[in-house]
């Protein structure tokens, strides 16, 4: 079956199936002159899988979604506004532990290729955290994706073409090292700090940050003992009870 895509150029949103591999979504978006706010290599995972593994990115990447609650055939449409104050976020709820719903379709924030370009950054790892954020602000960045290999930092910055800073190097996105592991874990909300980034680089983690949406995540080089792994969706009341218990345990 041909996947369904809908592009909203004004609001910079692309609607597609959450189970579709992101590489297919990216191919279609490229043909329309747009891109996912992710730097290459685009994960082979679907949007749903990416959000499960990197739940701190969900509210940045996805504006709204159709969710399915286990055992309930009625689809649940989350709020279709950039932000709202209408109670707890149903979108975030879909990616709690355990998840309270499953994402089926989503409006994903995308960037027009005509307006963005990417800079590859290659420099010593030491002191890179502060330097990266400085570069981000000076070059009107949208997405930062960095990883350290040994003592070198390899990264890329997706930024506005309107930025006045000249490129230090031509774009060579294909040289960005591949994602090393699919074990994501969350980092801070709000603007990523230089220290967050430096610490992650020192640990060999890959950092994906979207400071314009106040979110970042890290991927670990190898699975961590006790780290969360994707849960299946279970009946809503049971999932809520488990989540409430987890909140009590945390305390």
């Amino acid at each position: 079956m041909t996947p369904t895509f809908v592009l909203d150029r004004v609001n910079r949103l692309a609607r597609f199936d959450a189970d579709l591999p992101l590489c297919i979504a990216q191919r279609w978006l490229s043909s329309q002159g747009f891109s996912l706010p992710l730097l290459r290599p685009i994960p082979g995972a679907s949007l749903h899988q990416l959000c499960q593994r990197a739940p701190s990115l969900v509210e940045a990447l996805v504006r709204d979604a159709v969710l399915h609650i286990h055992g309930d055939s009625t689809p649940l449409q989350t709020l279709s506004s950039p932000r709202a104050a209408m109670g707890p976020s149903a979108l975030a709820a879909a990616f709690c532990h355990p998840p309270l719903a499953r994402m089926k379709m989503a409006n994903v924030r995308v960037l027009p290729l005509a307006d963005v370009t990417s800079d590859v950054m290659d420099r010593p790892r030491a002191g890179a955290g502060a330097w990266l954020l400085e570069q981000f602000h000076q070059r009107h960045g949208f997405v930062l994706d960095v990883v350290a290999v040994g003592d070198r930092l390899h990264g890329a910055l997706m930024r506005a073409r309107t930025a006045t800073t000249d490129l230090a190097q031509p774009s060579r996105l294909s040289s960005l090292p591949a994602a090393r592991s699919s074990t994501f874990h969350t980092a801070s909300a709000l603007l990523p700090r230089a220290a967050d980034i430096q610490q992650a680089l020192d640990r060999g983690e890959r950092v994906i940050a979207w400071p314009q949406w106040w979110r970042m995540t890290k991927t670990q080089p190898r699975p961590v003992r006790g780290a969360w792994s994707p849960h299946p969706t279970i009946p809503l009341d049971a999932a809520c009870e488990q989540l409430a218990q987890a909140m009590r345990r945390s305390s």
């Binding site: 932000r83 209408m86 709690c96 532990h97 309107t162 969350t186 314009q212 969360w228 409430a244």
Partner: protein, 531 residues
């Protein structure tokens, strides 16, 4: 687990003086009722706990007696989040106002929920940081209240809303048990924080928050512009947000809102002033409540109407204002003839170099704009927190004022703006500003003022009936245009009947069953539990 404390050790009062003080928030409907002689329902008791353990003890006792509990911050909510019955216990959290720690290395602050906003910001400023959260109610709202309603501040374009700042939360659920969630918490995942955020006291009583803080930027740039039309103004906002220039402030005032504020001549040749000091902290000390200041956007309108009266008798001007507001279509028609252009305030923060880099991008984003120089921006900065303190004159004049804030995608903004003005035209004078802008849309902040007969008799021409009808129409317009019922004020009881039908409330209702099985936490708010 039984609470260790006995409630008899906790400060409480059933005295009418104390219970009256926490019987309502600033929901304008309650202000109309009060003016018209309709008595407020007083809660049975108010408690002033000083610790999470004391909150637990109160919840245990309330649960045993099946009493509703309403958490209370500083009472500046405007949606009826505080609406007790005669059986309700109100838990006033303002004695829980300690900063537990400021961690400069981790850029975090841990603060109790009852801390009032400006006090927190001043303490952070002393340490060289800012939270970046500046709601106009900053002097009369608490950190817990911000979290409960998903509050937004004036610099949200740079720092985000409160849900973007919170990285951890502690509270007490409806079973009287401690709960906790953090964005870096493996057992719950980051989504748990967002499940509690915006729950308006229906899922837990929040006692403490862990928030991300930012070093204060060293410089600022503020500038005013007029737009040739509202469409051009909105296009400029959209281009600016999508340019990557990351402004701290972007505010666009519609022609009426612009006409009622101070005028500024064009300053096309005025050089850019990049000033030392962040927007974030400027004005906190200076812009507190001033009794003689122009605070309410309708205040200049009141003053102009008063000046038109040549043969005024004492209080007659107020009567005329009240009469005028009772004929909003006529008043709107007159105001529409004012020759005013939409007005912008744009602000950047950062190092001087950083701001210089971004200025050309800002200017390239603007369409049909006329430069007004730095004065409008600096004036806004010095007056920005004065808006919340002067509703009373309009109410005293027999009128009423309320605000309706929403958000939608860029394509829907102008149709929604026009539809709202048209829908309320015979009930209220409507003005609007556009702020809290994002890459994919922005918030619309409508202020509307109307009138009607006063007194407790009621009837279709009464202020209360017209107020309710205005809101009924406003909510219909929001629904029809797919806009949020609220961007940062919350739902309370004002919008609960509409929110109740939203599919996402299925998730909230299930979470309430898990955390508050007896339904004692603020029943009815957000449309879950209660009547």
């Amino acid at each position: 687990m039984p609470a260790a404390l006995s409630v008899s050790e906790i400060l409480a009062s059933s005295d009418g003086v104390d219970t009256r003080a926490v019987a309502t928030d600033l929901w304008p409907r309650r202000l109309i009722e009060r003016r018209d002689g309709i008595a407020a329902t007083l809660p049975q008791q108010v408690w002033w706990p000083q610790s999470q353990a004391e909150v637990q003890a109160i919840v245990h006792a309330a649960r045993a007696q099946r009493r509703p509990i309403v958490p209370y911050g500083a009472g500046s909510g405007v949606c009826g989040g505080i609406s007790p019955t005669t059986q309700t216990w109100v838990i006033d959290l303002k004695r829980m106002d300690r900063i537990i720690r400021i961690d400069p290395a981790a850029h975090e602050v841990v603060v109790e929920a009852g801390m009032v906003g400006d006090r927190l910001e001043r303490r952070l400023n002393e340490a060289g940081f800012t939270l970046g959260h500046f709601p106009s109610s900053i002097y009369s709202s608490t950190v817990g209240g911000w979290f409960a309603t998903r509050s937004a501040g004036q610099l949200s374009s740079r720092y985000g809303k409160i849900e973007d700042m919170v990285i951890g939360v502690w509270g007490v659920d409806g079973r009287g048990e401690r709960i906790e969630a953090h964005v870096d918490d493996l057992p719950t995942g980051p989504g748990a924080v967002q499940m509690l955020c915006g729950s308006e006291g229906a899922l837990a009583i929040v006692t403490q928050l862990r928030l991300r803080i930012e070093p204060m930027p060293s410089h600022r740039w503020l500038r005013g512009f007029t737009a040739s039309s509202l469409q051009d103004g909105l296009t400029s906002m959209q281009r600016l947000l999508q340019s990557g220039a990351a402004p701290s402030v972007v505010r666009l005032y519609d022609p009426l809102d612009a006409a009622l504020s101070s005028s500024h001549p064009p300053q096309p040749n005025e050089p850019d002033h990049i000033t030392g000091g962040a927007i974030a902290c400027a004005g906190i000390e200076d812009s507190g409540p001033h009794p003689d200041d122009e605070t309410n956007p309708f205040e200049p309108l009141l003053q102009r109407l008063e000046k038109l009266m040549i043969f005024s008798r004492p209080h007659a001007s107020r009567t005329i204002v009240g009469e005028a507001l009772a004929r909003p279509a006529l008043l709107s028609g007159l105001l529409d003839r004012l020759d005013a252009k939409p007005r912008f305030i744009i602000g950047l923060e950062g190092s001087a170099d950083d701001i210089h880099q971004r200025l050309p991008v800002v200017r390239r984003s603007l369409v049909g704009a006329t430069d007004l120089g730095a004065a409008p921006g600096e004036r806004w900065l010095s007056h920005r927190h004065r808006v919340s303190y002067r509703m009373s004159k309009v109410f005293a004049a027999g009128g009423w004022v309320d605000t309706c804030e929403t958000a939608c995608g860029w394509a829907e903004v102008l149709p929604l703006y026009r539809a709202m003005r048209e829908a309320l035209r015979d009930l209220a004078v409507v003005m609007c500003h556009f702020s809290h802008a994002y890459i994919d849309g922005c918030s619309l902040y409508f202020t509307f003022a109307g009138g009607g007969t006063t007194g407790s008799e009621g009837g279709p021409r009464s202020s209360l009936s017209r107020y309710d009808l205005a809101w009924e129409r406003a909510l219909l317009v929001l629904r029809k245009h797919g806009a949020a019922l609220s961007h940062h004020h919350g739902i309370g009881r004002l919008k609960a009947h509409v929110a109740r039908s939203d599919g996402t409330m299925t998730v909230l209702a299930a979470m309430k069953r898990a955390l508050d099985p007896d339904g004692i936490l603020n029943p009815g708010v957000l449309g879950v539990g209660g009547p």
